[in-house]
Point group: D2
Chain length 393, copies 4
């Protein structure tokens, strides 16, 4: 390289949100813009810890956002609403209103029910993503699903096999859950996928095959931000101390959009399924006790979880632990979404394909074979993977 | 060995308690007898987990107990009192009263203030332990300090060096804190030591030298049974999620003997010192927030801890976690005491000497160089050590 | 009265339990026997407070118990089980086993589904009660329903009017819910009724008419022992401080028989209905927030309730209160059951008829016109009534 | 009155704060201005409840504020800081900045240690208050102490008697605690006094005599805003249910100015004294259990209190209640301060003198003979007094 050649530019990474004006995407967008402008500190960004940064990740300041959204409104307005709800300081929303308006202009209409066929919708979605990549000269775009939770995927035969899926799409059928339609289109556009919700997304076998065929990595599912995070830190404590858990009761009070969605029992079923499995996986047996997700409108973007654990120690003595977690779901999720985009982009750059088991640390329902649910073990897997990535091109 | 020779007998291990009629020693004695009689299940015994049992430990049924005690009373009576306080079922105390009376007959008067010199007291203590070993034909005796918490060790120059210590003892001086006197005598009797309290015990440099010179292992200090256990499981969660802890308030309400001891500010200082250091070690910086240990007589042998954690996430958003732990201290400590006796006996058998860093999992103030405070890391260190021990003679 | 005449004997009062071997009746029976034998102190007995005792109530030692029961088993055995679950000390069950066996001999088979007509069953029940009164020479018998919760009463037309009810019974129909069948029979035997459960019992209009026609008092419904008690103490605090409650979430974890019954949604509906109405009555408007009753088997006779209250103060500032109540339901209910028997017996003696509004203090769903739900107001009403009763013959 | 005469104008009331730029006074000032401007709802204002408004109180919009302050800064700036801390919405501080600047211009320098004699300081303070009343043509000024908590009053003999006090002041002595100096000056200016802090203020006998001699009413002490409020609602529940409280532990975590002041043990002593006495007064006996007030800087203007209540029910069964109160102290105190100013002004108008026992509802340490601590009884006393005031001129 001659002395006159410019420095090799940092890779430019696009983050394409499905649900781009939702609470999580808006908070992530505000955060990315704020950090680029030097207006906040990256608390909650795992990728800024040295053990993870060791993977040589794209910088926070190199991210550019876009996405699909079914709803109306605008990012500046959504940001104001979230600030009023205490998700981030109001002055941040004001200071970044021009940048947010610009980011909003990169959001395209999502694919709703009816109208076009899924084949056409997939093509349109892929075209939107490709256009975004081309217009901004991006090295890579990661598609991140942060849209509302869907019910569990019905057992459509076309989801079991990629060829069957293609035939069904060709025949004008609509076999894909919405979240999987976006994953399909993302792969068709050559983009890795992050499933931050419990929706089916990239999980149906047909899509697992497609990712493999395209040589793309993907990560999921269902970001572990609150009560399940605590469970994955506490359950190993009981297990390693040989204390038998007799019952574990979980109550989750949620306001905001996610709470409203989960007031629908069908959607709640997806969430409860992924929330419940971690405890069983860590303890090696099912555990008694109710699990509730309740919509309490006045909590807004905040969530309060109360857990009551009854356990048995030496000679049958009964004891209890209870905890109350009071957190802001969007503020907890947004930095992880940015982390996942950066880590998945780096994995794609390094040539990884298929489910990224090392990212199980971030998820309630980690994809990949034999992924641990215990947070400490997940952290070790993540950091070892990052160290190895750091050694690679 | 001819085909007719009997099977090599299991090693017989003695557990010699300092504070042999205290709540913890009584509960451990009841538990060891109950498990031998098939009257209870070993919940809370870490050594029964396969990853730890892999070390090929002496069996619970092979343990025989004895000890020193300053107080009056008797094990059967103490057991009845503890059962009335809900520490274990009353029928257990009744069913084992003969065995408890027999165990009580193996308890010798401890060394109180005044009367004999420390040189004489140490000799008497060592003789008691040796007599116990000989009478019962034991392969090994582990001395376990579960007596009341002492104030931090004063800076006596004789504690800094073994030769200086011996000279001081020869001169009729009393440089040793009571807990260290027992550790000294134990080493002189060829026994490894477990320090389950925050008292100085084996920690002064003179005693560290003595253990090394005698080729004996030792473990300590201050059993991690409740609130600190939770801290060591939860603090790594915050750290690995890049969530900044702003304050951590700890309130411990204790009844019973330990609570009364800790109502003395000097003794509480020992406890607060070891409780506080774990959080700082895990987070790498001091954390604001009060820490209280309060004596609330009506709680009896139970303890209630309330912790309030205030932390900061993305873009400065403040959130909280609080938990209430309601546990029976003796029931939590007793199985760990049996675990430590078995693990330390096995370490001695395998020729380990000095502080057993791999046992940091059990302690608030783990001895050994660079021992982690994070429970998950401690668990891994313990189980790797156990696996390696299992490979050795 | 001549100087030689003996002192007028204290009135002898019978307490006839519906559900006589249930947890509450067993605990109340144990308690009455224990207090008579001088084996316990009457903590939790409101009638022992001077403001209530002012009514000149029959003494605890004058009570004699009997009742109906569908289940098998025996009082001594049930007492042992409850003692094992921590409801009262085991030595109490042992010390009173002869008296409990005698009390068990006064329990008669209850009326189950099928077999006899309700007309015949009512006659049999009334005969049992009358025989109990005659055999023991009692001045008065109070029938107290402490059986399992039934679903809300269906709208049978015969329940709306006493004459219609009598015609239906004559016609061999079964219009009465089980709890109301017992109330009917009690009135026919000339006995006042206490409804300690949310079951319909004395509430259908036909039974209200019957009580009036017979000139008998009755009290109900649904003993206020735990979380609802707290609500009735705390909601007035918010109201009188002009703090607007935005949501009130209630989670009730119950083991034992009552928990199992309430795991049936139909039965839970009765309970949730009476639990919910107090808050609305005190605040004068409905309040948002989920209310759960969950069966958690391992809690046994204990109950843990967690409530989360979100409220708004000056200039819209949002604040929260949360509480955890950990109580033994039978131990809380049993003394109130004895209180109610004594107070209702005294009311009958003083000639009161119809719903005893002054006893609203004891109930989640207080009978009588315009009865307050606020605990302080209820206490004042109770004590004023007691003072007035004390002035009467 | 002729048809042409104008309506009699509403009385205009001045509120003169001691500590006029503190958190409570600033929030009260913002609130009064906001409500006048129609920018908020009066949640938390007891005087707006119909049972209290029945006293025919001066309207919120008729209040005009002023006061003394030792510290620098300005109301608009303090309001911004409080809004940033979540005490009230930031737009309120911005919208009212002109009005706040105007209110700030009515604040005069307070009396600090040193410099002038107490005689001179009292004269200056009284002159400031009189000038405020004259300039704004006020009917009445109520002096409200919301300054930082002082240590308990030392036993100066001049405080025991008004004549002795006057002689000491004439002699150039400084016998008065600062809070009492303001009360003295207020009375000399003909103004009633409200003591919202636990400082001595109007409590020394010499000042009680002065109020009586001047025919002025006064109210105090120590506003009951949080944990003590809950105690006064919950303790009567236990008492009326005959449940024996065995221990009551109280932990108060406070940030902000008040927390910092109370980190000084001498000042905390005042607070702990008034906090503790309510429970004892309600239960009629002292109650075991620690009480902590801790300064936790990061909580800002918020307070978290955790209470743990251990109680005993029927046959000795032990149960627990715990609660966590998370409130904003200034937002809780400010509306009560406005209430007290209005109620005390009305009392003065109606000719009441001496301690206003009916206002015990507002205080931890209610002045007046035999004032109840039970919240329900206090509420009844308040509303009966208000009803009677409503009948008077």
């Amino acid at each position: 390289m001659s002395a006159l050649s410019p420095p090799s530019p940092a890779p430019r990474i696009g983050v394409w949100f499905v649900g781009a004006r939702g609470s999580v995407a808006t908070t992530a967008t505000v955060g990315a813009l704020a950090l680029r402008a030097g207006l906040g500190s990256p608390d909650g960004c795992v990728a800024e810890l040295p053990e993870v940064a060791a993977a040589r990740l794209p910088g926070l300041a190199e991210l550019i956002t876009g996405g699909h959204e079914l709803g109306h409104g605008s990012l500046p307005k959504r940001a104001e609403e979230l600030a009023a709800g205490g998700v981030f300081p109001a002055q941040l929303a004001r200071a970044l209103s021009a940048e947010l308006a610009e980011a909003d202009s990169r959001i395209r209409p999502g694919a709703g029910p009816g109208g076009e066929t899924q084949r056409a919708a997939a093509r349109r979605i892929a075209d939107d993503i490709t256009a975004f990549r081309d217009r901004h000269g991006l090295d890579r775009v990661v598609v991140v699903d942060v849209s509302s939770t869907e019910p569990p995927a019905p057992d459509h035969p076309a989801l079991a096999d990629l060829d069957a899926l293609e035939r069904a799409l060709d025949a004008g059928e609509s076999p894909l859950p919405a979240s999987s339609l976006y994953a399909y289109a993302a792969y068709r556009a050559g983009c890795p996928v992050v499933a931050f919700t419990p929706s089916p997304g990239p999980r149906p076998p047909a899509l697992v095959q497609l990712a493999a065929r395209e040589g793309l990595p993907w990560a999921g599912s269902d970001g572990k931000t609150g009560e399940t995070l605590l469970k994955s830190a506490l359950a190993p404590m009981f297990a390693s101390r040989a204390l038998t858990i007799r019952s574990w009761t979980s109550v989750n009070l949620l306001g905001g959009g996610d709470g409203r969605t989960l007031a629908d029992p069908a959607a709640a079923e997806s969430k409860l399924r992924t929330k419940g499995q971690g405890l069983e996986a860590i303890l090696g047996r099912p555990v008694d006790g109710p699990m509730h997700i309740d919509y309490v409108a006045d909590l807004g973007d905040w969530k309060t979880a109360w857990d009551h654990v009854s356990f048995e120690g030496f000679l049958g003595t009964r004891m209890t632990l209870q905890f109350t977690w009071s957190g802001c779901d969007s503020a907890l999720a947004a930095p992880l979404v940015l982390d996942l985009a950066r880590l998945t982009a780096r994995a794609a750059e390094a040539g990884e394909t298929g489910p990224l088991a090392a990212l199980g640390f971030f998820f309630k329902d980690p994809a990949g074979d034999g992924v641990a649910h215990d947070l400490g073990t997940q952290w070790r897997a993540l950091t070892e993977w990052c160290a190895a990535l750091g050694e690679r091109a």
